[in-house]
């Protein structure tokens, strides 16, 4: 019997939707196009099949997501993941946090930062640059945003360029979006 996962983890859970995913046999040509379904590629996750109910936003989602997380230049991939993790902690999206914390660990080959962030959030004892990054993203993810000029100045003082700061704003904001879908439309399950 699988159980809902409530605690943050780097072990990626399954995701079970609360609403019915799109039935591919009922899909419109626009939905099939947005899902990139072809006779040789019929594997689509339940999450994407849920989002396919709103095909007009879905068609921009993949290029936007890939651009924000993997574009060349600007903030490092690992530091963009910290923006994603910060938002996911604020919004308690256990699934998104697991995916992006584990990606950070893979990229940096270390688990100490994620362990500290999961345990202590903004009080985590981590290097100053990562702390400035995490704290800015954590405060920007509140509703309303609590990020202020001092938090912005801390990013500059930690050595981030304008291009890097922009990428951090984008990755943490993007997860304000993703968390509001993943955490509210379904739940993470594990053995």
């Amino acid at each position: 019997m699988k159980k809902t996962v409530h605690e943050f983890t780097t072990k990626i859970p399954e995701w079970k939707p609360y609403v019915a995913p799109l039935d591919l046999s009922q899909a419109t040509p626009e939905q099939l196009e947005a899902l990139k379904v072809t006779p040789s590629n019929t594997k689509v996750s339940d999450y994407v099949l849920v989002l396919a109910h709103d095909v007009e936003t879905l068609q921009h989602r993949t290029p936007l997501f890939n651009g924000i997380m993997y574009n060349r230049g600007g903030l490092s991939r690992a530091e963009r993941e910290i923006g994603a993790v910060a938002a996911s902690i604020v919004n308690r999206c256990v699934y998104c946090a697991a995916v992006h914390a584990s990606r950070y660990n893979q990229l940096t080959k270390s688990e100490t930062v994620v362990d500290a962030l999961f345990a202590d959030g903004m009080d985590a004892q981590i290097e100053p640059r990562l702390k400035a990054i995490f704290n800015f993203a954590f405060k920007l993810s509140q509703c309303p945003s609590e990020a202020n000029d001092k938090d912005m100045q801390a990013l500059v003082d930690a050595g981030l360029s304008k291009e890097e700061i922009l990428d951090l704003i984008l990755s943490s904001s993007l997860f304000g979006w993703a968390n509001r879908l993943m955490h509210t439309l379904g739940e993470p399950l594990s053995d």
């Binding site: 609403v19 919004n91 920007l140 990020a147 202020n148 704003i169 904001s173 979006w177």
Partner: protein, 164 residues
């Protein structure tokens, strides 16, 4: 009618030629996709069961919950004057009155905008019980999620703009 200009650029008023404008131009693809998603969320070709007025009004509520006066004014303008119900839905003191469907939609918009961490399966069941289809639940969620993203991007850019 929907403005074709980039909403975030208009709201943040970044000076052309500034170092910040240069950084933003370096991510022109992202800003363009963001604007295209804005159109898809606020004014889709097929709005399903959520009217354009309701979408603009929910976005206005979300702006108020985020204490963002500029987005509030923007979405208020988008509601237009043709339909008095829009301004009423945008008022965060209004929770839907006797309209079961509207009450359920407003409750969910406020929850997901402010406290997504508290959302559970029971909140989706409430929408379904009020007669909201699964497709409209996804449309509503995308609207709240996208506007929450857009407001944060603008909030971050304003802080960058105001750097000494």
């Amino acid at each position: 009618m929907l403005q074709l200009e980039d909403v975030i650029a208009k709201i943040t008023g970044i000076d052309r030629g500034s170092a910040l404008a240069e950084a933003v131009n370096g991510r022109a693809d992202i800003m363009s996709l963001t604007q295209q998603t804005y159109v898809a969320a606020l004014h889709p070709t097929d709005p399903g069961g959520l009217s354009y007025v309701e979408r603009a009004a929910f976005a206005c509520r979300i702006s108020v919950l985020n204490s963002d006066r500029e987005f509030e004014a923007h979405f208020h303008n988008l509601i237009g004057d043709n339909d008095a119900s829009g301004a009423r839905i945008a008022d965060i003191g209004f929770v839907g009155g006797h309209d079961v469907r509207l009450s359920a939609l407003i409750r969910h918009v406020d929850l997901v905008a402010q406290n997504p961490k508290n959302a559970t399966e029971g909140d989706i069941k409430r929408l379904q019980a009020a007669g909201v289809s699964d497709a409209d639940i996804v449309r509503l969620s995308e609207l709240v999620a996208f506007v929450s993203y857009q407001i944060r991007v603008a909030a971050g850019l304003r802080l960058m703009r105001d750097l000494a």
